[in-house]
C-alpha cells in the first residue's frame, strides 16, 4: 500500500543568525506496509519514529527518497497535490485530548470531514448523520450519548476512540498510531489495541504502530513487521514475534532486556543482556551509529556503517556486522 525508499530528513534549526544546528532525524529509511498489513516502529526517544510516521501520513516533508502510495510515486506529484493520496493515511495522535478541538462537540468534529466527503460524492445530510453514528459504533462508542459532548466530557479511552472514529470518516487505507495508548489508563489500553486490530481485520485497514513499548507492538497483529530504529536508521526489521524471540542486533537486544519482567507471571530469560547505561550523547556519525554504546562492538564497527541486510541463518533483516542471538526474552511461568 505504501512503500518508502531512502527517506532522509534533516531538521535545520534556525533561530540564531550565526549558528544553525542540524538534526539528522532520518538517515535513509526503507519501509513497506502492505494493504491490510501492520508494522510497528520501535526505538528509544528521539530516534525518529514520530518523524517517520508524520512523513508517512503526509504531515511532514522529506528531504530525500521516494514514497509510493498504491502505485503512485509521490515524486511525480506536486507538493500541493499530494493531499488526496495522503488522505488515505490517517494519523492517530498520542494525546487524545489535544487531538480533539476542545471547543467543538464530537458531532461537529465528525461532521466536518464527513460533509467534505458528502460534498465530493454528492451525498445527503442524512448520510452524514448516519455515517457519524456508524463510525462511532465502529470504535465501540454509543453515538447517542457521545455525539453531543465536548471532548473534556469523555474519558481518555473514549477520546482516543473518537480520534480513531474521526480518522475512519475518510475511509482510510492506513492508520498511523503514534504512541496511541501511552496516555491512556492501563486498564483501557488493551481496548484500544484490540480496536485497532479489529479494524484491521474487519475493514482491511493497515496499521502502523509507533511505540517504544515493544510489548504493545505485538497486539496489533502477529503477522506484522517490527522495525527497530536507532538514530534515524532502521537497525532490525522482521516479523514481530521473530524479532522479539530472536533479536540479533545488540540494540534490539538491549531494548528488549530493558522490559521489566513480570515476576510471578513470567521468568527472565537465561542470558539477559545488560541494559544500556545511558544515552549516547556524542554526535559522531562515523561508522556504526550504535558502536559507542554497543557491548559487543567489534573492529569493523567504528570504521564503516552496517546497512540493513539479510544474512545467512538470520530470518530478519538487520544492520549489524556481528549478529548473534542472545537470549533476552522472558518466559511465561506456565512454560517454565
Amino acid at each position: 500500500m505504501i512503500t518508502g525508499t531512502g527517506i532522509v530528513k534533516t531538521y535545520k534549526q534556525r533561530g540564531n543568525v550565526l549558528a544553525g544546528r542540524e538534526v539528522r532525524a532520518l538517515r535513509g529509511v526503507d519501509f513497506a506496509i502492505p494493504k491490510g498489513g501492520a508494522a510497528s516502529f520501535i526505538g528509544e526517544s528521539g530516534c525518529g519514529k514520530t518523524t517517520l510516521g508524520r512523513i508517512i501520513a503526509g504531515l511532514e516533508t522529506y528531504d530525500e527518497g521516494e514514497i509510493v502510495i498504491g502505485d503512485v510515486p509521490m515524486s511525480g506529484i506536486k507538493l500541493k497535490k499530494r493531499q488526496p493520496y495522503f488522505r488515505k493515511i490517517q494519523m492517530i495522535h498520542q494525546d487524545p485530548y489535544s487531538a480533539l478541538n476542545p471547543t467543538r462537540t464530537i458531532h461537529q468534529t465528525l461532521y466536518a470531514p464527513l460533509s467534505l466527503r458528502a460534498g465530493q460524492t454528492g451525498r445527503s445530510k442524512e448520510w452524514i448523520e448516519e455515517r457519524a453514528a456508524e463510525v462511532l459504533s465502529m470504535v465501540g462508542l454509543d453515538p447517542g450519548s457521545v455525539l453531543g459532548r465536548y471532548p473534556h466530557q469523555l474519558s481518555g479511552g473514549m477520546r482516543q476512540r473518537v480520534v480513531i472514529a474521526r480518522a475512519l470518516t475518510v475511509d482510510p487505507e492506513m492508520l498511523v498510531a503514534d504512541e496511541a495508548v501511552s496516555m491512556i489508563d492501563v486498564s483501557l489500553r488493551l481496548g484500544i489495541l484490540a480496536l485497532l486490530k479489529d479494524l484491521r481485520e474487519r475493514l482491511g485497514v493497515s496499521v502502523l504502530f509507533i511505540t517504544h513499548d515493544v510489548a504493545t507492538a505485538r497486539y496489533i497483529g502477529d503477522d506484522g513487521e517490527l522495525y527497530v530504529i536507532y538514530r534515524g536508521q532502521v537497525v532490525e526489521r522482521g516479523p514481530v514475534d521473530t524479532v522479539i524471540a530472536d533479536p540479533v542486533h545488540p540494540y534490539t537486544q538491549s531494548l528488549l532486556s530493558a522490559i521489566p519482567v513480570l515476576h510471578g507471571l513470567e521468568e527472565p530469560g537465561e542470558q539477559p543482556v545488560t541494559p544500556l547505561e545511558s544515552l549516547d550523547e556524542s554526535k559522531s556519525d562515523e561508522g556504526c551509529l550504535f558502536a559507542r554504546r554497543c557491548p559487543f562492538r567489534g573492529e569493523r564497527c567504528t570504521g564503516e556503517r552496517p546497512l540493513l541486510q539479510l544474512t545467512e541463518g538470520v530470518p530478519q533483516e538487520h544492520a549489524c556486522f556481528y549478529p548473534e542471538r542472545r537470549n533476552v526474552i522472558a518466559r511465561p511461568m506456565s512454560e517454565v
Binding site: E44, S45, S155, G157, M158, D185, V186, S187, L188, R189, L190, G191, L193, A194, H212, D213, V214, A215, T216, R218, Y219, D222, I244, S254, L255, L256, S257, A258, I259, P260, V261, L262, H263, G264, L265, E266, P275, L276, E277, S278, L279, I329, A330, R331, P332, M333, S334
Partner: protein, 328 residues
C-alpha cells in the same frame, strides 16, 4: 533518629479534597504497613489516589486536600499526621526522602543542582557542607553520573534520566531511610527506566532503606517491589507479596488489570481489556464497593457495603466475592 530502616504503619487513613461538590475522599480508610527494609510498590490507575497516599506519608497533602482521618506512624518519628511547622519540615528530607512524580521537573530551573544541594543542606542545618557535596558526588557516581559535572549543571542541561537520578540523590543525601518514589519512571524511555529501576534496587539494598514505589505500571513494581499494593478509587483493594499477587491475583480488579497488561510473550488472545473506565473523584461511588460497576463478580451486597480489607494469609483483599469464596 532512625539510623535503620524504619517501619511505617498507616492506619485508617482518609484524605479528602474540597471540590465544588463538597469534600470528596481521594484516599479512603487505607490501612497499610511498610515493613522495615522492604520495597513496597503501589499500583493503580490515574486518579486512584496513589500520590495522595504518598504525600500523606509526609503530611504534605496540598490544599484543598487534607487528611481527614487516620494516622501514619513512622518508626523513630511518631505519627506524622500530627506534625506541623518546623518539626514537619525537619522530618522531610532528613527522615523521609521523596522522589517526586515527574522528577524531571523537580529542580529549580534557575539554580544549579549544586546550589540547590547547598540550599538543602542549609535548610537542615548541615554544618559540613563540603561533606554533603562529597556525599552527593558519591551518590551520583554510584548512579553512573559524573558528580562534579552534574552539580554544576542546570536542570535543562540534564536529560530526563539524569534528572531523575538527581532527584533520588537529593532524597538520599541527608541520609533518609524512608524513601518514597512517586512514578519514578513515567515519561522515561524503556532503557532509562530499566536503569533507574536497577539503581533503586541497588541503592535500597546498599543503604538499608524502607522504600515505597508508586506507579501505574505493574511492570515496574514487578521489577523492584517485595510487596505489591493495588489501589482503586482511593481504596486499597489488594496487597501481598509481589510474586503471589501477580501470579495469582484474587481481587477481580487485580485480575482484570493483570490480564490487560500487554505482554511480550504468550498468547495475545488471552489478554483482555477491562470494561468500563476508572472512576474520578466525582464518580467514585459514595457507598458500596468502588469497583462494582466494572466487576464481573458483582453481588447485591456490593452496592451498599464497602468491603473490608481482610487478610488471607500474606494477602489482604477487600472484596465481598473473595471473602465469600474463602469462607465458603
Amino acid at each position: 533518629m532512625a539510623e535503620q530502616a524504619p517501619g511505617v504503619r498507616i492506619d485508617g487513613l482518609t484524605v479528602v479534597y474540597k471540590t465544588p461538590a463538597g469534600e470528596l475522599p481521594a484516599v479512603r480508610d487505607v490501612t497499610l504497613t511498610l515493613e522495615p527494609g522492604t520495597i513496597t510498590g503501589i499500583v493503580g490507575e490515574s486518579g486512584s489516589g496513589k500520590s495522595t497516599l504518598a504525600l500523606s506519608l509526609l503530611n504534605a497533602v496540598q490544599p484543598p486536600g487534607r487528611i481527614a482521618a487516620g494516622s501514619v506512624e513512622i518508626d523513630g518519628l511518631g505519627d506524622v499526621t500530627g506534625f506541623a511547622g518546623e518539626e514537619l519540615r525537619k522530618a522531610r528530607g532528613r527522615h523521609i526522602g521523596y522522589v517526586f512524580q515527574a522528577a524531571q521537573n523537580s529542580l529549580n530551573p534557575l539554580k544549579t543542582v549544586g546550589k540547590q544541594l547547598l540550599d538543602l543542606g542549609r535548610s537542615h542545618g548541615v554544618e559540613d557542607l563540603r561533606g554533603l557535596v562529597r556525599e552527593a558526588k558519591e551518590l551520583l557516581g554510584r548512579m553512573g553520573l559524573d558528580g562534579a559535572r552534574v552539580l554544576d549543571s542546570h536542570q535543562h542541561e540534564l536529560s530526563g534520566g539524569m534528572r531523575q537520578r538527581v532527584g533520588i540523590m537529593l532524597a538520599l543525601v541527608l541520609n533518609a531511610h524512608l524513601v518514597v518514589l512517586d512514578e519514578p519512571t513515567t515519561a522515561l524511555d524503556m532503557i532509562t527506566q530499566a536503569n533507574i529501576l536497577k539503581i533503586v534496587r541497588e541503592v535500597h539494598a546498599e543503604r538499608g532503606l524502607t522504600t515505597l514505589v508508586i506507579t501505574h505500571d505493574i511492570g515496574v513494581v514487578a521489577e523492584v517491589a517485595d510487596r505489591l499494593v493495588v489501589m482503586y478509587g482511593g481504596r486499597l483493594v489488594e496487597q501481598g507479596p509481589t510474586r503471589e499477587v501477580l501470579g495469582s491475583p484474587t481481587h477481580p480488579y487485580t485480575k482484570g488489570l493483570i490480564r490487560a497488561i500487554p505482554r511480550l510473550v504468550g498468547d495475545i488472545a488471552e489478554a483482555q481489556a477491562l470494561p468500563g473506565r476508572p472512576p474520578t473523584l466525582a464518580t467514585v461511588p459514595k457507598e458500596g464497593c468502588v469497583f462494582r460497576e466494572r466487576c464481573a463478580l458483582r453481588m447485591d451486597v456490593c452496592d451498599t457495603v464497602d468491603p473490608q480489607a481482610v487478610a488471607h494469609g500474606s494477602r489482604v483483599v477487600a472484596c465481598h466475592a473473595v471473602t465469600v469464596k474463602e469462607h465458603a
